[in-house]
Symmetry: C2
């Protein structure tokens, strides 16, 4: 078995850096493909392919207007990713707390020593 398809889920779709750029770019409002091409300095076919992947996993929406197609980010699609990452949050904050407490304890110890001198 090879690697999972980029369209298999949000995690795989977002693994590609260009697609992450596109998602950020399309976050504030819909944009035609041409604009993505010029702003992100990618080839048009490349952009279309990335948009295809993003569409397949529900991370962008399209609206057609004449010969233009306006894409925009479907932010809700990122939720599974965010929720999964959130599970780890309490663990790293717990770690940060430990580091902080240790630092404070060392500070107190240093203080006490200074005062006793």
């Amino acid at each position: 078995m090879a690697r999972a398809a980029t369209t298999s889920d949000v995690f795989n779709a977002v693994a590609e850096p260009r697609r992450r750029e596109i998602l950020i770019f399309l976050l504030d409002g819909e944009r035609p493909v041409t604009e993505i091409v010029t702003r992100l300095r990618l080839e048009q076919p490349a952009v279309s392919k990335h948009l295809r992947v993003l569409r397949d996993v529900g991370l962008v929406r399209v609206r057609r207007n004449g010969r233009h197609k306006f894409y925009r980010t479907q932010a809700e699609g990122i939720q599974p990713l965010h929720e999964w990452a959130s599970v780890f949050e309490r663990y790293w904050s717990r770690q940060l707390l430990r580091v902080k407490e240790r630092a404070e304890q060392m500070a107190r110890a240093a203080n006490a020593k200074t005062e006793s001198n």
Copy 2:
């Protein structure tokens, strides 16, 4: 150019479902490789390979004890992913707000109509 290496960043490392399982499993404390193998029902070489990728991107730490190696999740490594996903949060909550407001407005309208009858 082919797809980016799984070790190129956290996004790529976490694109693989088995690796996500391993990270969750190793979140509550260090475990020897054998335990990962039996609990997640994977072949031992597969687990070692996944752990290698996770180590390379700083998502797990190892401690050796005799012939055992104890792995545990390095939760901080998920931060970049979490922060990136957080950018989208306000957008989908904004969308949810719109949906909610529309629902309430419709409810009020339905109410008014009922009262006028």
